[in-house]
Structures are given as C-alpha cells and as structure tokens.
C-alpha cells in the first residue's frame, strides 16, 4: 500500500507535471496495450522492428550525442551482435536466450577494440576511422563463406518466442528497459562527464576526469546495447547477413538520431518511431518514390528544425527555469521547484 501510494505521488509530482513526460508515459502504455487492440501481423512486425531500431539509435545517441564520439560505423556493433548469435546458434546449437547476451558481450568487446585505436583521433578523423571497421568486417565475412555464410548470410536462425505477440512483448520489453537505462545513464554523473568530454576534452582532463576511461566506457555501453539490438534483430528477421554491416546500416542511426534530436535518448526513439513506420508504409503505397520522399522529408525537417524534432517540440511546450534550470510546462506562471516567476 505504501509503495503504491509513493508510486502515485511520484507519478503526480515527477511525470504528470511535464507534458513531455506525459507524452512518454502515454507512448509506453500505448505500446504495451497495442496487441490488445489488434494483432495484425504487419503492424506488430512494424512496431517490433521500430523497437529494435530504437535501441540501436539510442545507443548511437549515447556515444555520439552525449560523449561526442561521432561514429559512422555503428553497424559494426549491430552486425557483430547479429553474426555472433547466428554463428553460435549455427555451429554450437546454443539457445537464443544464451546467444543474444553473448552477442551483446562480443559487441562490447568490439566497442573496446574500436575504441582503443580511436582514442587519439578527433572529430572528423574519428568519424571516418569508425566508418572503416564494419566495411573491413564485411571483407572478412566474404573471405570465409563456408563459416560465415558469405554473401547470402546465415538463414533460419531460431525464433525468440513461438508467437508473434510473444516476440512483441519480449522485444518491446527489452527496448523499454534498454532505453530507460540509457536515459538514466545519460542523466547521471557519467552522462554529465560525457557532456564535458564532448564540449571540451582538454578542459575535462584538466578537471581530473580520466577521459580515456570514460570514452572507452561510452564505446562499451554503446557497443553492448547496439549488439543486443543486432542479436535480437537476427532472431526476429531470422537472417544475419552482410546487409547488417553495410554503409546504409551505419548511417541509419545517425539519420534517426539527428532527425529526432541528438543528446536526448528519447530523440532517437521518436525518430525511429516516426521515420521507420513512415518509410514502411511508403513502401506499400509508393514503392518507387519511397526513398525519394524520405530524403526530401529529412532535408526539409533539418532545414527548418536543425536541432531535431523532439528538441523543437520540447522547447515549444516547456520552458527552463531561469534560476534553477528545472524544466516546467510552458503554461506555468512560476517554477515548480523554486517558485521563481517565469516569463511567458
């Protein structure tokens, strides 16, 4: 009873006061209740893929948006996760519940493997060096076609659950946990240090922050989550192939994140849940002009909301208190934390 009451109180003072959090709550509840409304396999498939790609995009946001380590080769982690779980299942016959975490762990190691040589690189050099890694791995995959499936990839990977709804709840559950954890990490002390490294690495080091350790930590966390997304994707799509490593796969999280709003964690999720279903339905309606319209939409949105959609919306419905920096609904007259009058 006590816990319930404190939960309700927390909900009232922390969630319902901010429109953006209300939107997030409605989104989560809607996602969880969705299969009760319809079990249309096409819609469920779309939401499952959107959830998987949100994990992937959010992991890019932590690394690039927060820590400022812009990676153009994020497909490496996604692909390593997918290939690890597929190869373990194919050659050792292990169960998906074992191989998916192993895939994420191997992707973490890949993150560290990439992170170490990239520690000395700055900005554009880093972006372009990371671009190289998934393409190099593609070369290796093509070199050993008998082991890795070569160009065709690995087919018929085991399902995660026997029904579509089961898969839906599993993947949406993982997505909510992963995104919430990333959001908590981003809001914690570690997230603050990531901000500092992005803004000025030399200054961060001068303040006594071990930037090497925190940059590697960012690579590891990001690799782990992206690897988990890749591994789950392999089991859901039931194929792990070189397309998981290609150039466009690396660019996609960047598109989603910048479109949604970088350094927010919920931005990339919004980006995926807006752009992915849109692209998918355009595929049905206007297959020929699908990517054309997609590119135009991205260009126009960036032209008029260069900080991303969620940042633009958030600044429209919320204001930041000038004295204590707590966020308030735009309709409030005074700050909810310190009572300072807000100028409307």
């Amino acid at each position: 009873m006590y816990h319930l009451r404190s939960l309700i109180r927390h909900l009232r003072v922390e969630v319902l006061v901010l429109p953006s959090r209300v939107i997030a709550l409605v989104f989560v509840i809607g996602l969880l209740l969705f299969p009760l409304l319809t079990q249309d396999p096409y819609l469920l498939r779309m939401l499952i893929l959107a959830s998987l790609f949100s994990i992937y995009a959010a992991s890019w946001d932590l690394l690039a948006g927060y820590a400022g380590q812009i990676s153009l080769g994020h497909a490496l982690f996604f692909g390593v996760g997918a290939y690890t779980t597929a190869l373990l299942g194919l050659h050792l016959g292990l169960h998906p519940y074992l191989t998916v975490p192993l895939g994420a762990i191997v992707a973490t190691l890949a993150g560290l493997f990439v992170g170490v040589p990239c520690l000395r690189l700055r900005r554009h050099y880093l972006a372009l060096a990371t671009l190289a890694f998934p393409l190099m791995l593609t070369g290796i995959v093509f070199m050993f076609p008998n082991f890795s499936g070569g160009e065709g990839g690995i087919w018929r990977i085991g399902r995660l659950a026997s029904t579509r709804v089961g898969e839906y709840y599993l993947i949406v559950g993982v997505m909510l946990v992963a995104v919430f954890s990333l959001w908590r990490i981003a809001g914690s002390r570690v997230g603050l240090i990531f901000h500092a490294i992005r803004e000025d690495e030399v200054a961060a080091r001068a303040l006594g922050i071990n930037t090497v350790r925190y940059k590697l930590l960012a690579f590891a966390i990001s690799g782990f989550t992206a690897g988990a997304a890749g591994a789950l994707y392999a089991h859901f799509a039931r194929i792990a192939g070189p397309s998981n490593l290609d150039l466009f796969m690396s660019f996609q999280p960047v598109i989603w994140t910048i479109f949604g709003g970088a350094a927010t964690i919920y931005g990339p999720v919004t980006g995926v849940f807006v752009l992915y279903p849109l692209l998918d339905s355009l595929h049905v309606l206007l297959p020929q002009y699908r990517m054309l319209l997609f590119a135009l939409l991205v260009l126009f949105i960036l032209r008029f909301m260069p900080q991303g959609v969620t940042t633009w919306i958030r600044d429209a419905i919320e204001t930041s208190c000038p004295s204590c920096r707590v966020r308030n609904a735009a309709t409030r007259r005074s700050c909810r934390a310190c009572g300072t009058p807000l100028r409307n």
Binding site: L121, Y125, A132, M136, G139, L247, Q288, L292, A295, L302
Partner: protein
Amino acid sequence: MVADILVNGLVRSGVYAMLAVGFGLVFGVGRVLNLAHTAFYMVASYGILHFVATGLGTPLAVFLTALGVIAIGLALYKFFIEPVREMEATVLIATLAVAILLQELLLVFFGSEIRHVPAAFPGYTRIAGVRLGNQEMATLVLAAISLLGTWLVLSRTRLGLAIRAAAQDREVANLMGINVNRVTAIVMALGFLLASLAGAAVAPLLPVEPRMWMHPLVIVLAAVVLGGLGSLKGSVIGAVILAFAEVLVVFLIPGGSYLRTAIALLIMVCVFLIRPEGLFGAGATEER
C-alpha cells in the same frame, strides 16, 4: 600484368585524386563534410550517358554536364546545407540525404539497370610494347590537366590566395575584406566541377548505375583523412596510395575484389595508429 596494374592504378589514382581534391577543398574552406560529393560524380556520369545518347559530341556533353552539376550542386547547397552549416552532425545527415535524393532521382529517370557509355576514344595505342586503351589515356590526361589547373588557380591567382586564406581562418579572412561566403560558393563550384570531370572520365570505363557513388565515397573519405584533412597534397597522395592498394589486391589476391575496400581501409586505420592527424594533416593543436 605489371603494365595492367600500373595503368589501372594510375587511372584510378587520377579519378580518386580529382574527387579527393574537390572534397578536400570543400571541407577546407566550407567546413562541410560533403557526403554527397561522389553523388555529384554519379550525376555527371548519367549526364554524359544522357547527352551522348542524344547525339551531342563529347566536348559539348562534358561542358553541359559540368554546367548542370554545378548548378544543381550550388542550388542544393544554398537551400539545404548553408543554413545548417554550423551544426556538424546535421550537415552530415543533410548531405547524406542529398546523396540519397540524387540516387533516387536517377533511379526514377533512368531505372536501376546497369548502363554503359560508348567510349569517346575507342581503340588502343602501343607504347613500348604495352597496349594502352585510348580512353584510359584520355582519363589520365584529363586528371592531370584538372589537378594542375586547380593547383595553378590556388597558388598563382588572387582568388587562390583568398581561398587559401579562407581555409586557414574564416573569421580573419572575412576581416581582411574577403567575401567568405562568395569564396565558399566558388570553392563549392570548383569541387563540383572536379567531381563532374571525374564522373565524365569514368563514364565510359565503369558501369553506370545508381549505387555507383558509395564505393568511391568510402575511398575518397579514406584518402582525404589518410592524407590529412586540409592538405591537398595529402589528398592526392592518399588517393594514389589507396588506388594502387585496391588495384594490387584485385590483381594479386584471388577473390580480391571482395577485399579491395577492406584492405584500403585497413591501410587508413594503420596510418591513424601512427599519425592520428593523417600523413600531412595539421596537428590537433593547430587545427581551428
């Protein structure tokens, strides 16, 4: 075999160098990492395809293509890229979206099938017992002339001085009375010109298809950072290194065409391990 490697390597070096120099100039002056650069090269190839098919002579086709590519490029830059130029990540995505836009437009107009452009200079010439394709030689001459021309413009003219000044420090160049925005637009046009000449040069040599921009993009990015961002000499040398690495892998390793990109990128990463700012790049402290 050796002669084949040499000729192919030189032709690829020339094409990659033209693309890399244009890309490097645009980055150096405009501070725009233009992922659409090779998409304009692809548009130029299609332009040549179109104009040659309508029966125009090669020089006129090249001229019209270059003009069209520059016009399209500048229009897209002014409308979509310049307003968001200050935000690096946004520029990255905006230029990528431009590349996809061009790819899809070509798909709509020309279809997805692989096309071939008839050679403008068919036949072979024997030089010292080696059979050289005339088209390959024309490509090499074109690359040499355009790179030399770029170098002359940059080092011998007032415009070149303004470009170099803007590349070193935009703010100070602006204070010295240089119209930095106009210089940026001119450099953009120069970059598009080099890209369209490269596209015109490869159109008869390589299959023309709507995904042909991806592979050169990777190589050009690698070449530019390998040589060091902001150093044109570095870009050319990087392009030559990667072109020869690619050709050697294709000729010497069985099944090497799968590995050519991987090896080229491996070279780039290895250089980074020793020199994080590339071969001729400015050190981290000098960069502004």
